[in-house]
């Protein structure tokens, strides 16, 4: 049997943080896809397009499924943490299981042009804005 050590302060901090989040404003707005789900993501802007980076150490490329529709991105997959047979575990901190997270971005995306790159346990999604969402220069007469 494996016992996991828990840090009481980590629990307290997490509660505080989720309360703060509930009171304050979340970047994703009043949508179902908030903070606190796995995997944690960082969202960047590259020009007018978006880039989502997530750390997924131990997830195999073939166990990862990405779907894009409208302004929504779904990151779905499974993380396996395996030990050799007949091994005695000294320390167990890594957590495996399934994950499914849906993120809604503030603009419609061009699903056909989305690219995903998975390297060294880091997933990078390049999400171009849909043509209708691109800014247009207006000529001044």
């Amino acid at each position: 049997m494996v016992l996991r050590m828990t840090d009481p302060f980590a629990t307290l901090l997490a509660v505080q943080r989720s309360m703060d989040d509930a009171m304050g404003r979340d970047w994703f707005g009043p949508l179902t896809s908030g903070r606190g789900a796995y995997p944690p993501v960082n969202v960047f802007e590259r020009g007018v397009d978006f880039e989502i980076v997530a750390e997924l150490p131990g997830v195999k490329k073939e166990d990862l499924d990405i779907q894009v529709k409208g302004a929504t991105v779904r990151i779905h997959g499974k993380k396996t943490v395996a030990y050799a047979d007949e091994a005695s575990v000294h320390r167990r901190e890594r957590v495996g299981g399934e994950f499914d997270r849906t993120l809604t971005l503030p603009a419609q995306l061009d699903a056909a042009k989305v690219t995903a790159d998975y390297r060294d346990g880091v997933l990078t999604l390049r999400l171009p804005r849909a043509e209708s969402e691109r800014p247009r220069s207006v000529a001044i007469n």
Binding site: Y38, F44, A87, S88, R94, E98
Partner: protein
């Protein structure tokens, strides 16, 4: 097997013990350690660390693993929303078993570093037959 959801684990930032010459944050990688009949295996989660940026040392029974990330990756990007921070990884373990240090091997895949530390001959368990 019942499906279990992955719980979110906050990255553990290291409390500075001494001042470092390098800038940037340091995190303690989540680690599993298990022992088989002939080796101790250490598996560390170091996402974003390339193979060439990993340093493994065994000195006086202390195993130290360092993994540096490439900050250039984020240079052209403007962050608009963040849930985690990035930084280098470092962690040390004092090994209680005698290790055949010349036979240590390591492999890395999908952001997980696995270090195999074969036990030295004198540390191997011997099966005792009962007469």
């Amino acid at each position: 097997m019942p499906t279990q959801e992955v719980a979110l684990q906050e990255k553990k930032e290291l409390a500075p013990q001494q001042e470092r010459t390098e800038a940037g944050k340091f995190y303690s990688p989540y680690t599993d350690i298990y022992e088989t009949a002939d080796a101790v295996v250490v598996a560390m989660e170091m996402p974003g660390v390339e193979r060439s940026a990993i340093d493994i040392r065994l000195d006086k029974g202390v195993l130290t693993v360092t993994g540096n990330i490439d900050p250039k990756r984020y240079e052209e990007l403007a962050p608009i929303y963040s849930e985690y921070n990035v930084g280098n990884f470092i962690r040390s373990f004092t090994l209680s078993t005698k290790i055949a240090s010349e036979d240590i091997s390591a492999s890395v895949g999908d952001g997980v570093l696995t270090v195999r530390l074969p036990k030295a001959k004198e540390a191997l368990a011997r099966r005792i037959d009962i007469k």
